[in-house]
Each structure stands twice: as C-alpha cells, then as structure tokens.
Amino acid sequence: MALRAAVLRHIRVPVRTLAATGPKPQLQWSLCNSIRLFSSHDDHLTKEEVIDRVLDVVKSFPKVDPSKVTPHVHFQNDLGLDSLDNVEIVMALEEEFKLEIPDKEADKIDSCNLAIEYIYNHPMAG
C-alpha cells in the first residue's frame, strides 16, 4: 500500500499553473482568425455589404448622377427620378440580391433607406 503510493507519487506529473493573462490567449485567437462556421444560417449579409451593393446598383442606373447617391437619398425627390424609374430600380435590386419582393412591398420602396432596411431584414437576401 505504501509502496503503491510511493510509486504513484513518483510518476505523477506535477501540475503547472499557467500565467493568467499573457501573450498566449492572443496567439490562440490570431491563429483562428478566419473561423469557419458550419451552420447554414449564419451567412446573413452585413450592413456595410448591403449598403455598398445597393449604392452600386443605384449608381450604375443610367439616369442617375453617381455623385449624388448617398445611403439616405430619396429616389424621386433627391435624384429626380420617375415612379417608373423607381420600379426599375427595385427590379434591379431584386436581381442583385436574388430576392422576390411582393408587389405591394415593392411599391413602398421609395428611397435608399427603405431599400437597405428591407434587404437587410430579409432572411433570404443573397
């Protein structure tokens, strides 16, 4: 019995307590910067991406002056577009983000603000 305890004491690995803070945690996080999440429901667009793409679509519209486009611009009041141009812009946004917007909702999208909010809150925005 005492022999067993002596043998165990001999081969037991001494426990070392690590320093509480130090460069170690940072090193770990910097190694896994690009974390791959394996769920299929976490790839929602970030707000900056949505804003960038929406502004690109609006700027590439031929009747629009690209220098006037900001995230808060109103299509008919600020950019001087027609209501039919509004419809065309909404269709272009639908094609860009692979969405299907119902007719009633699409009628209400009047400015960049509304478009960005709608697309950001849509679960299937691609």
Binding site: L84, N86, V87, K98, L99, E100, A106, D107, M124
Partner: protein
C-alpha cells in the same frame, strides 16, 4: 373641371398610379422571362418604357382607366407559361423543400439501447 383637386379625385389618381406601377413591374418581369438574352431584354424593356411614356400626360380619369384595363389585358395575354421564380419563393423549385419540423418533437438517439438492454 369640377372637383379638380378633391380628395376623391386625388385618391382615384393615386390608385391609378399604383395600378400603373404594378402593371409596369409585372410587364418588365415578363419581358425578362421572354427575352433570355440580356441585349434583347434591354431592347424590349426600352420599348415597353416608350409605350408607358407615350401615355404619360393623359388627364381624363376614364381614359386612364380604360388604358390601364387594356394594358392589363395585353399583359395577361402575353404572360410566360414558365416564368422564372426565385427558388425559395412560392412557385419556385426550392419552396417547402425542407420545411421546419413541427416543434416539440425530439428525436432521442439511443442506438438500439431500448431494444437490447
């Protein structure tokens, strides 16, 4: 003209404008369905826009109503039999493909332990 800016007149004009916008939207989508190649679509879309622009300045309510009805009739006549619908939308190919399972159901994987215990 009597009732030039009454509320009823304005409401009717607003309803007509909404009908025109929805009709233009559907006609544009239909044009995209028919004209698969992009350069053909641009040509057809600008033709459609010309047709809408030509009637822009009409003021008489009944004429406008008749023109909208004619436009909707010709839209119904030219509808594509197999339109492109986004897959996850109703009518698309992925719609209700993987429905959410009913809540409260729990699958307990015992791997035969309940039979062979």
């Amino acid at each position: 003209m009597s009732g030039a800016t009454t509320a009823a007149y304005l409401a009717r004009r607003a309803a007509q404008k909404e009908r025109v916008r929805i009709l233009y939207r559907r006609a544009l989508k239909d044009t995209l369905n028919w004209a698969v190649h992009r350069h053909l679509f641009y040509q057809d879309a600008s033709d459609l826009r010309e047709k809408f622009e030509a009637n822009k300045r009409v003021e008489d309510l009944d004429t406008i109503d008749r023109m909208i009805a004619d436009g909707e009739a010709s839209y119904n006549k030219w509808r594509h039999p197999d339109p492109y619908i986004v897959p996850w939308a109703p009518g698309g190919s992925k719609f209700t493909r993987n429905p959410v399972p009913p809540s409260g159901i729990e699958i307990v994987y015992d791997y035969g332990r309940e039979d062979n215990d």
